[in-house]
Each structure stands twice: as C-alpha cells, then as structure tokens.
C-alpha cells in the first residue's frame, strides 16, 4: 500500500485506531470462521484511510457475511436478502460524501441478488463490494450455492448438484465493473493490500474473497489457503509484470492462440513471451481470460484483475443537477403555475 495514494482520499480527522471501528456487539460467527479474519482486516485498514468513521456506511443483505455491519462501529444497514446493492446505490447517490462498503456472500450476491449486483456494477456505483465466497449456504445450514461445484453433495442436493456454477470474477467483468479483484481470507497482508486498492478506487470495486466455512464446506479453498502448497496453486497479479508463479518462481503463463498455457522455465530466466498483466487495459479481454484460469490446470489468480476509470453514478447524477441549476431558476410558484394557466376574476 502506497501512502501517497492514500493521501488523495477525502477527510483527515483525528487519528483513529482499529478499536474505534469495533462495535459493542458480540460477534456471533462460528469459531474458526473465515469471516473473523476479514472483519479484523477491515477494522485495521479503515483507520489508515483517514476518513472520519461517521462517514462510513456498511450495508449488507442476508447471510452469515451480512451480519458484518453489526460488528463495525460505523453507520450500518443490515437489509434484506440480496438487496444490499439497491440500498447502497440510494445511500451513495443521495449522499456522495459518504463512504459506502457492501458485504455480501455467494448466495446473497449472486443468487437472490444477482440482478442488483450486475446493475450496480454497470452503473459504476461508488461502493466497495466484498463478496465472501464460501461456495455454500451457511446461515440456512448447508445448501448448494451458485458457486458450488457441480456434483456437490449438500442437504438440498443429496445426489450431487446439477447446477453449473458461476464465476464471480467473470460475472463482474461482464457487468462492466471498473475494479475487480480476488483475495483469500487466510492471506491477511495480501487481503489488506487488495482492500486498500479497492478503497482508493472511485466507482464500483468488486472483491471476491475466498472464505472458508468451517462448518458446512470446510477446506473448499485448501489448495490456495494452505501456506505449504499455495504458491504453486495461485498466481499473484501485478500490474505491468509477467505472470510468474510457483514456489520456485519457475512457472509462467503465456498464450497459445486464444488459449493460455503454463510453461516451466529455469528460475530467473522467464521466456520473453509470458503474458504481462495490465489491470488498466481499456479492453476487459485479458482480465476475462485470467478470470477463467482455474484449478487444477492453472493457478488461481489473486489480486487486481481490472482497475480502470469511468465516472461514477453519483458524479453523473450531480453533474446533471448542476447543469439544470445553471439553466433553471428555482421558483416553486412558477413551477406550480405551469406553462399554461388562466386567471378567473
């Protein structure tokens, strides 16, 4: 995280600490839940952003992850299933001075609220969307979710799920999102870095966070969360750098026609034709290609897929209001009189 970039953020109140963002409510997630780590990361990150805490609003839908606002000592709104993006849109556009964070899950955000998510992203509503993906319904006690793998046996799919899963990153890119990233709950420094970048992005920032549900889907992300294996299973995306991964940093990704392939090379001597990551690319094609890299043939990309600039919805809305104010004098009586009226004496 670079300090000079943080300095561009609005507000510079008194120095806050993590404790300022901890509410007095008991956290009621299961012991060992990945949500704890994400909560702690956010509570640690926010004081460093220099924004008064009364200007934060945390909005959520329904599900385990959506209890998040209760544990943040900021303004918060625990809304209804899937609808958090709709409230967040009203909040941000009605009050552009507020910093709006949204917490959702794979069921809340991609199933019942899928429609709202894609529209918030295409409008570039200036909200930070944390999608906790645990590939299962937790709060309703273990049913298949839109990201559950095909064939998965759950309470609602005892013979295996027959619903093909969604890829949240691909969906966000297809929805014209301007900031799309992925991180995992167990890699706190990296999660902090990604969330910091998201906080600085103006417009919708979508972050898929692999989050372990210890009760109903334990180990779903073991390959990428296990410190001993993860460097061979993930590729960290760095803007302007070649896609190199592996414990030995001896593997890379390059294109063969329109398809990616893994190449192994002698450490320190990468081939010249490795793919170079460009999160600022005008076209989302590269980001989309990266979003399709999946285990086991490929390492799973972590980090920022896309970070481009486009006016946020509230900016366009304010701009239209300002334009209108330039050409129209506010005169309620004149407005009520209308263009055509007559006087009865």
């Amino acid at each position: 995280m670079e300090d000079q970039e943080l300095a561009t953020l609005p507000g510079s109140g008194p120095m806050l600490t993590r404790k300022d963002f901890v509410s007095d409510q008991m956290v009621r997630w299961c012991p060992g839940c990945g949500d704890f780590a994400i909560l702690a990361t956010v509570q640690k990150l926010l004081p460093s952003l220099g924004i008064p805490k009364e200007n934060y609003v945390f909005v959520s839908g329904i599900g385990c992850s959506s209890r998040f606002p209760y544990y943040m000592n900021t303004y918060g709104f625990h809304s209804i299933h899937g609808r958090a993006p709709t409230l967040a849109t009203g909040i941000k556009c009605a009050r552009p001075d507020l910093q709006v964070w949204m917490v959702t899950g794979d069921g809340d955000g991609l199933s019942i609220g899928g429609n709202h998510l894609i529209h918030a992203l295409r409008r570039n509503v200036d909200i930070k969307i944390l999608l906790f993906n645990n590939k299962i319904y937790g709060l309703t006690k273990g049913q298949t979710s839109p990201t559950s793998e095909i064939g998965k046996k759950t309470k609602s799919t005892p013979f295996g799920s027959i619903d093909y899963p969604l890829n949240p990153i691909s969906l966000a890119l297809a929805s014209e999102a301007t900031f799309v990233a992925r991180a995992v709950d167990t890699d706190l420094p990296f999660l902090t870095e990604v969330l910091g970048k998201a906080a600085k992005h103006k417009g919708s920032a979508f972050i898929e966070i692999f989050q372990n549900c210890i009760v109903f889907n334990d180990g779903a992300f073991e390959a990428v969360s296990d410190k001993t294996t993860r460097e061979d299973k993930i590729v960290r995306l760095k803007h302007g750098a070649p896609l190199i991964f592996g414990k030995e940093q001896n593997k890379g990704i390059r294109l063969k026609g329109l398809e990616p392939e893994v190449v192994t090379f002698e450490k320190g001597k990468p081939p010249a034709d490795l793919l170079i990551h460009d999160e600022k690319a005008h076209s989302p094609n590269l980001a989309y290609l990266l979003s399709r890299l999946m285990d086991p043939e490929f390492p799973i990309p972590q980090g920022v897929f896309r970070d481009v600039s486009r006016p946020a919805l509230h900016e366009l809305m304010e701009q239209q209001l300002e334009e209108a104010k330039k050409t129209t004098t506010v005169d309620l009586q004149k407005l009520l009189n209308g263009a055509e009226n007559w006087v009865v004496a």
Partner: protein
C-alpha cells in the same frame, strides 16, 4: 339538461347549454389523447368547469382499425360545478368503424355522432365484424349522424403542399378538432400556439396542422353540416384565482417537489417503469434544478431499496409504482417498517390481479396496502379524492412520514392519475412547512428511544459524529435497537409499531360531512370515486332526500370521529371499484351493517349507478 333534448331549428347565434359531454375515439395512433387534451385546455380557458377521462389501450399500436386498438378521451364541461367526466357522452367523434363499434352503446339517444366516413371501407368494416355499413343500414337512426369525409377534406386543405399520404392522415385529428371548436364556440389560439411550439423543428407539419385546424373550423361553419347550429356553454361560477389543468400524476409529482422545498430535505424518487405510474417518474425527472434525484432502477425492489437507502441518509425517500410493483416491494416495505424510516410509497392503482388491466382504473389494492406483508406490519395509508388533491395530500404524506418515522402508502388510481381537472394553483407562501424533528444529544442518543407524542424514533443520519448506529430487518431491542430475539421484547415492539401508526389519527382533521349529520343514508367513499359520489349525493339532496356523504382520505389510521358519524345514519352505503375492501375494514372495526356497491369493470362509477343504489336503500331495499 342535456344538449340533445334542446336541439332546435337552425339559427346563427350559438345556443346555450348547461353541460356537454364529448367523447373522442379512434385508433391509438390517431392522436385522440392529444386532441382531447387540446380541447380540454381551450375549454378551461373558455371558463368552464370540467373533468376528463382518458381511456386508452395497453398496446402502444394495436393493429390499425381493430377493437383492441381503440383509444378514447372523454370530457365533461359545464357552466356549473363538474365533478365527473360525465356518465354518457352527448357527442361521439368516431374516427373509424372500430371506434364506432366500441363506443356507440354509450352515446345518449339523440346524441350527435360525428364519423370519419372515409374510414368506413369494406376492409375496416370487416375487421370489426360489421356485416353491413352502419352508416347506411339504418342501425344508427337513434342518433344525429354527421358523416364527414375527414381524410379527403384534410387532404384538400393541404393542396399545394408536398405531403405524403401518411403525413396528411396524421393531421385529420386537427381537422376534427377545428370542427369541434366551431361547434362549441371555443377559442383556437391556444392550440395554434401549441402547434407552433410542438413543431418548431418541423415547419411543414406545423403548417399542415394549422391548415387542418382552420379548415375543419371553416368547414363546420360553411358546409352547414350542423345546419349553422352551434353551442355555447357559459362560464362556470368558479372561485377566483389562477388555474391550470392538472392530472393526478402531475399533481402528485409537483406535490413531491413541493414537499422537498417546504421541508428543505431533498427528494429521492426510485421507480421502475409501470403503467399508469410512469408519468410521475417522467415529470420528476424534469425537475433536477430543484435538487430532485430520480433513479430508474433495474426492478421494483431496487427502486424501493434505493429509496430506503436515501431515507437512511436523511433524504425524502419515495418510490412509485402500481399494484404488481407493490407486490414486489412488499418485503422491502416490511424492512422500512422495521427500521422505522420515513418513506412514501405511491401506488397508482390499476385493474388486477396480476398484470390485470394495466391502463384501466380500480381501487383493489387497499387491502394490499393495509395487510400485504409478512408479520404484523402496519403502515399509514392515505388516498386523495381528486386529481388536484394529489398535490396537497402527498405533501401531507411526507410530513407524516418524517414526523412519525414511518412508511406512508399514497394510493391514487388510474382514473385520478390520468384524469385532469382545472386546479386552482396554491399560493406557495401558504403551503405547510415541515422539518425533521429535533435530535437528542449524542450522549442521550439511543436509536430506538421514542418521542413521547409521536412514538417516532430519532432520525440520526450518517455523517453525524457520535450517532453511529446499525439498523436492520432483525427484531430490534426496545430503545437500544440492538438485535433481540427476546419474546417479551418482540411483543412489545410489535405493539409499539402499531401504536405509533395509530397515533397518526391525532393529525387528522374532523371528517367533513356533505349534508345533514343525521339521516337515512350515509355514503362513505375513498379515493377517486369522490366525484361520482358527490354528484350523486348532491342530486339526491336537491330532491330533498335524506342522504349525506363522507370521503375518507386517511385509511390507516381512520379518523377518530367515524364511529360517532356512523351512529347517526340508518343506512351506510360504501361504493368502491373493488369487491368491498373499505367495506370489510369498516365492518371489522365498527361492526356496522354497511352495504357495498361494487363495480369491477376498469371504469369509474357513473353518477346514476350510485343514485340507484341510494334509491334502493331509501326504499328499504336492503332488508
């Protein structure tokens, strides 16, 4: 006195009439609504009282010349008070056989029927299953038929201009309008001005429509089609002031803008396009200079979600829709009840259930507004009586929403929303101002600590340091607002939310009774049936009958004086455009032996229908 009874031999001076009802009908592409609205404005400027009823199909361009494609616009104008768009037209202008077939059953016997005879081709007759041409087979002998070769004559008026057949055809409604202006002695200046403004960028169509209007006017006078006979309806005795025509939807939108100005709190309107409520979104979208933010959401749920979000951060959150949209918003309305935020939900009711009759009126969403949610979920419900009253009542809805921190349903309907009437423009200086209630100190702040008078919780908006708090749909602990599953607390909160809405009755003025306070029949109405009920009751009273009426504008809570009023009448009649929804509520609450008068045709009540029901009760027909 209807005009048809007073037709006398031809003479040059206009004959005076008390009241006239005209219906324009044609293909939905014929510009019928436009023609009607132009005639309306000119009539208002001529000083008559009036009321209108547009009646258009759900399809944008149903197949040309077919019955589903018929669009109608009725206007009733008079030298006396006008309360309804008229029971039956005195004059029918039918642009084609379909328009004739769909409307002729309503025309008064002896009424004037003006038809575009050019449209009565074999093809058009076949489309609507006329075996023979009704203009020739004597089936219209009950009426004064005036066939006009509208298409040909409009074409003649364009001689020398380079116009396509389609363009010429588009002007024939103005030819017909010109004729009607002569027949009823209306000024044309307003329409001439309108044409110039409308076709600013298309001088050819401006000239063509101007010529068509003049040609129709001259034709009516010189071709003696009405035998030099024309009519004048004198100015009505109207309260002095500045007037304009206004539809209920316009009045609702302007009321919302006014509420924001009067409170100094900006308006957020989240909506999803739906007939017949979309016009409110259209109107509000124009008023950005007034700080109005409109948001066309991806669906009905997002529309209300955005409004709840805006309310949470201190704005006047509002969402507008019609019945099917309310069904989708129900869960979110429950959330607004739980988090106790101000919110106005506009429902411009239409025929239901399901998609129902999108362009027709009905009052069948009252019980949906009252009870259509999970859990014990009380909201205030207000309903204006006239198009113009939508303005003042929606301001009141916002005032109450803010003062009591509650969602308020605002129920209008297609008839009020699309119908228009001359509206005395209020003096802005005299409109009621309101503001957000004072907030306790941050030391004393508890999110669910209630005001003693209103039971409202504090509206502490994000950005205020020291007031950070969380709200949500899970049951709240009394006072602290923390999550609580405690059984006693839940019962207390359910009762508190109900008590808060009930407290709104202290805001309701005494119910006005039209007529004596005691008598044989009391007619109880709500919403857009006001005009028909009032006209019917006034007719009864003029005959010396013991009939009074009240109109309930606050459906939840009810005014506190209703029981007292009901006790003084032998019979209570509740006319509604539904199966008896207010009727059920009144019977449940007051245990009164009321009787319902119910109509579910997508059309408003005729005055005669209500008079007949009253007569039945007066003659002891009920028992």
């Amino acid at each position: 006195m209807s005009q048809t009874e007073t037709i006398k031999p031809a003479r040059k001076d206009p004959e005076e009439l008390d009241a006239v009802t005209i219906r324009f009908a044609g293909d939905s592409g014929d510009g019928i609504q436009l023609t009607g609205m132009q005639f309306t404005t000119s009539t208002a400027i001529a000083g008559n009282d009036l009321s209108t009823l547009p009646d258009y199909p759900a399809e944008i361009r149903a197949p040309v010349g077919t019955l589903p494609g018929v669009s109608g616009y009725q206007i009733h104008f008079s030298s006396r008070e006008v309360l309804t768009p008229g029971d039956a037209p005195d004059v029918l202008v039918a642009m084609n056989p379909a328009a004739l077939k769909a409307n002729i059953k309503d025309l008064k016997k002896g009424g004037i029927l003006i038809v575009n005879s050019d449209a009565f081709s074999q093809g058009n007759l076949t489309k609507v299953a006329y075996a023979a041409n009704p203009l020739e087979d004597g089936s219209l002998s009950d009426f004064r038929v005036i066939p006009v070769e509208l298409t040909r004559l409009t074409g003649n008026a364009m001689t020398g201009m380079t116009m396509t057949k389609v363009q010429i055809d588009r002007c024939k409604n103005f030819f017909a309008l010109g004729m009607m202006y002569w027949l009823y002695d209306r000024p044309m200046e307003n329409t001439l001005k309108w044409i110039q403004a409308k076709f600013k960028k298309n001088p050819l169509m401006a000239e063509a429509n101007t010529k068509a209007l003049h040609a129709g006017n001259a034709y009516a006078e010189t071709a003696e089609i009405f035998g030099h006979h024309h009519y004048r309806v004198k100015k009505a005795p109207i309260v002095p002031g500045r007037y304009r025509n206004i539809t209920g939807n316009e009045a609702t939108a302007l009321g919302m803008v006014a509420a924001a100005q009067l409170s100094g709190i900006e308006l957020w309107y989240g909506s999803y396009p739906i007939t017949p409520a979309s016009d409110v979104l259209h109107e509000l979208s124009k008023h950005k200079a007034y700080g109005v933010k409109t948001f066309q959401a991806e669906d009905e749920i997002a529309a209300i979600g955005s409004a709840i979000g805006a309310s949470f951060v201190g704005k006047l959150g509002c969402t507008g829709t019609s019945g099917p949209g309310v069904a989708l918003k129900s869960e979110a309305i429950g959330l607004a009840v739980m988090v106790e935020l101000p919110l106005v939900i506009l429902n411009v009711q239409r025929g239901g259930p399901s998609t129902g009759l999108p362009t027709k009126t009905e009052q069948s969403d009252l019980l949906q507004a009252m009870y259509g949610r999970n859990g014990e979920c009380p909201v205030a419900v207000f309903a204006p009586a006239t198009p113009g009253e939508c303005f003042t009542m929606v301001i009141e809805a916002f005032r109450i929403a803010v003062k009591y921190m509650t969602p308020v349903f605002f129920l209008t309907d297609g008839y009020l929303g699309n119908g228009s009437e001359p509206w005395m423009v209020p003096d802005v200086a005299k409109l009621p101002k309101f503001s957000q209630p004072a907030l306790m100190t941050k030391e004393a702040f508890k999110p669910y600590q209630r005001d003693a008078e209103t039971l409202a919780r504090p509206w502490a908006i994000p950005g205020l340091a020291g007031y950070e708090h969380r709200v949500g749909g899970i049951e709240k602990a009394d006072i602290t607002g923390n999550v609580s599953y405690d059984p006693d607390n839940h019962e207390r909160m359910v009762r508190l939310r109900a008590a808060k809405v009930a407290k709104i009755s202290q805001e309701i003025p005494p119910t006005e009774i039209l007529g004596a306070k005691k008598g044989k029949v009391l007619v109880v109405g709500w919403g857009g049936t006001y005009g028909s009920i009032t006209a019917a009751v006034k007719n009864c009273q003029a005959r010396g009958e013991s009939v009074s009426s009240i109109h309930i504008r606050h459906l939840n809570p009810f005014p506190s004086d209703l029981a007292e009023i009901f006790a003084n009448f032998e019979n209570i009649l509740v006319p509604e455009l539904n199966m008896g929804q207010l009727f059920k509520m009144l019977r449940a609450k007051y245990l009164i032996p009321a009787v319902g008068l119910n109509k579910i045709k997508g059309q408003p009540f005729k005055i005669a229908e209500i008079e007949n029901a009253i007569a039945g009760l007066l003659q002891g027909g009920r028992n």
